[in-house]
Amino acid sequence: MSGLSARLAGLGLRLRIGLIFAGLGAVLLAGLVLGLVVGARHGGATAAGFVQAGVVAGIAILAGLAGAWMLFDEHVARALDRLSGALRARAHAGAGGGFEARWLGDLAPAAAALAARAAAPPPVPPAADDSTRRLERILAGLPIGVVVAGGDDQVAFYNAQAARLIDGLALGQDLSALIDPGPVRAALARTGPGAVTALTTRSAAGRLIAAELRRKEAGYVIALRDVSEVTARREARAARLSALVEDLGRPAAALSALAELLEDPLAPPPDAATRAALAFEARRLTAALGDLADAAEAERRLAARVPGLAAPGGALLAALAAALDRVGLPVAIRPLAGAAGVDLAADPDALAGRIAALGQRLAEGGRIPAWVALAPEAEAGSEHATERGVQPGTDAPGAAGALLRLGWRGAALPLATLEGWLGPEGWTEPWVENGVENGAESGAESGGAGGGWALCLPLAPARAAAQGPEARPLAYDFTLMRRELPAELADRALDAMACVVLDCETTGLDPARDALVEIAALRVTAGRIVPGERFETLVDPGRPIPAAAQAVHGISDAAVAGAPGPAAAAAAFVDFARGAAIVAHNAPFDLELVGRARGQPLEVPVLDTVLLSAAVFGRAEVHTLDALAARLAVPVPEGRRHRAMGDVEVTAEVFLRLIPMLRARGIETFGQAVTAMRRHPRLLRDLNRTDPADSRRR
């Protein structure tokens, strides 16, 4: 009996209910037959016989129905009642009753899973707690690039600066393919675990990189600094200095010779040509000296721009007003006149503290600080510096700084007194401004002819942070460090796989004939989307895009003009996706298009969200991307569905939400997912054969 019960429990709910009612029908028929047989045997053709038969049949039918009701009541109605009671208890009282309804198929485990999820604290991803986020921010903001690689050179960590420095850097990528591996190999060979060594290498794009490599037990950490610009700048500076020396040397030599002639008592008096030569060389010398002086000024300004210091003008002024307020000297902040957003090479609090100390000194002498102001200014001489080839960029000296002014009422401040206050350190070159309007203060109280006084401090602009075309946050997957390659792909857990989610927009729905117009992809690793690791390109299909296709994705012929062709775009995508499994919704469509564009099929591990959905929800469900997104509560980006990146984002979220549901069904590894996907081969064939209006994900 228990064996039969176990066998029945293994059947689906619908089949079991069907069996119950089939049994009921059989019982009814059997009862009727029994009644007729008994009636015929005892009553013959008399009415009493049929009455007897009817009574017997009725009793049998009632007995059968009672049996069916008892079964239904025990295994369905009471089970549902118990289940709803348990859910209510869990929902309203937090009671932890069990969910038992073994005849109701997956309903009890599903209810138990839902209740457990509702009762559990919100899931916290491993990398999302406060301290981790703080650490991520610190590491992302490091002014040097940092890459951690495994023993096989696979990138397991990088920060934003490293991504700017090394084109194509991505988790799981082979670092040795992205920078010149020779110096790294040599450094690894000459150092033991834990030791640090310096090296220089070059990125694939030719940037000169100074690096420090620390070897770990498995793999290494490498800190990278782009020195190509610094080196180029030093070389340019040396060349400029040599040119200036030469420019000074020539007229100096000529003047020296001419002066000796003039001093020589035996020499004839200078004729017109000699006098003209003297004047010419003197002018040349003057011009060369002017150039030298301008270069020195540019260097001075550059030296004032301390790397790493960047305070917006508004923040600086607010810090100064607060610092003066703290020492009992409240001041008015004058309108910023466009300087609020200027980044200055200043530590706001330190500078505010020093200026507040000057304010106190002013007040001690009866000069009460009344206002502060900040105005942008263009530094003089920048045009000369630019003319001589100083490159604009991080260290270009021509950028504008700002002038900070601290105004007071009362007596003038003699320059000698100010210089005495500043002491030998001479931090900036402050000066005193005469005849300043004194705001609301009475002119009678002010000391200058034109009003009050102001202490003026020129502030250098901040050095712009090096920005790549796209700032990328921190990315890491330290499981990459632990992986033994070549790993047995079939055994790899789905949430530990390095995946690239792909979607293509096309000229039509026939992958064998139509062409790409857009490719987008993003990387998913360790069960989360890697921010910043995205691939997106329009593709010039080399043919007109039909109006029907344009109506779907909105990509016009004009939009793809100048975009790479299918072969180049597909090759770039393959570079991006190297080493990763491809995830796509109706993957054969996208893989066929990309493979055809590059001239050879993509032979990569593939996970298809259509088939994974079928494994979770059953083949009879609808598996379009929209239906899946709605079912899994994945937000669909407004206006971006049917653009490749919009679809990629939805597909990636769907994939990530399917993983735990697959796991609940015992599908945890890539191999198990492949087995589950293979159960639905017809699904993709049917999907790709359906009407374009509702085909695949569209």
């Binding site: 002018r283 010398l285 003057t286 000296l289 002017g290 030298l292 002086a293 301008d294 270069a295 020195a296 000024e297 300004r301 530094e379 003089a380 001489g381 002038l403 003038a412 003699p414 320059l415 000698a416 070159e429 000066w431 005193v432 401004e433 005469n434 005849g435 000391g447 200058g448 002819a449 102001a454 003026c456 020129p458």
Partner: protein, 141 residues
């Protein structure tokens, strides 16, 4: 050479404040050639005294001076409205942008960067002199 009380008919007076003798000699030569009266002092405090005594139309004022600096002279003069008419032409080092801004804030009327061409200096003095006045450079402003 110079008179404390100017006559309208007399050429304008330029006070040369320069401690380098050779530069001062060249400047004196230029003033003579341009028909301007001129006097030279080589010390900061002496310069301030002579400006107060002579009230020249233009002071050619070097920044680096023994005693008071050119900036201090400028500051002290501009604190006294009695000397508003005295035009201060400061001679700054080429490439020292901060010196120009400092002088401007203190009330200087013009700048000329050393080393300079005499022609540049003549143009700058011409700009600062009051228009007309019977002097050889007058009328240009």
């Amino acid at each position: 050479m110079a008179e404390p009380h100017r006559h309208h008919a007399a050429p304008p007076l330029v006070l040369i404040v320069e401690d380098e003798d050779n530069i001062a000699a060249a400047l004196s030569y230029l003033m003579t050639r341009e028909g301007l009266r001129h006097e030279r002092v080589a010390d900061g405090q002496a310069a301030l005294d002579r400006i107060r005594a002579l009230r020249p139309e233009v002071v050619l004022l070097d920044v680096m001076l023994p005693g008071l600096s050119g900036f201090e002279i400028c500051q002290q003069l501009r604190m006294d409205p009695a000397y508003d008419a005295v035009r201060l032409l400061m001679m700054t080092a080429r490439g020292a942008g901060a010196e120009r801004r400092k002088g401007l804030a203190l009330g200087a009327d013009g700048f000329i960067a050393k080393p300079f061409q005499l022609a540049e200096l003549r143009d700058e003095i011409r700009r600062l002199l009051p228009p007309g006045g019977g002097h050889p450079l007058g009328g240009a402003g």
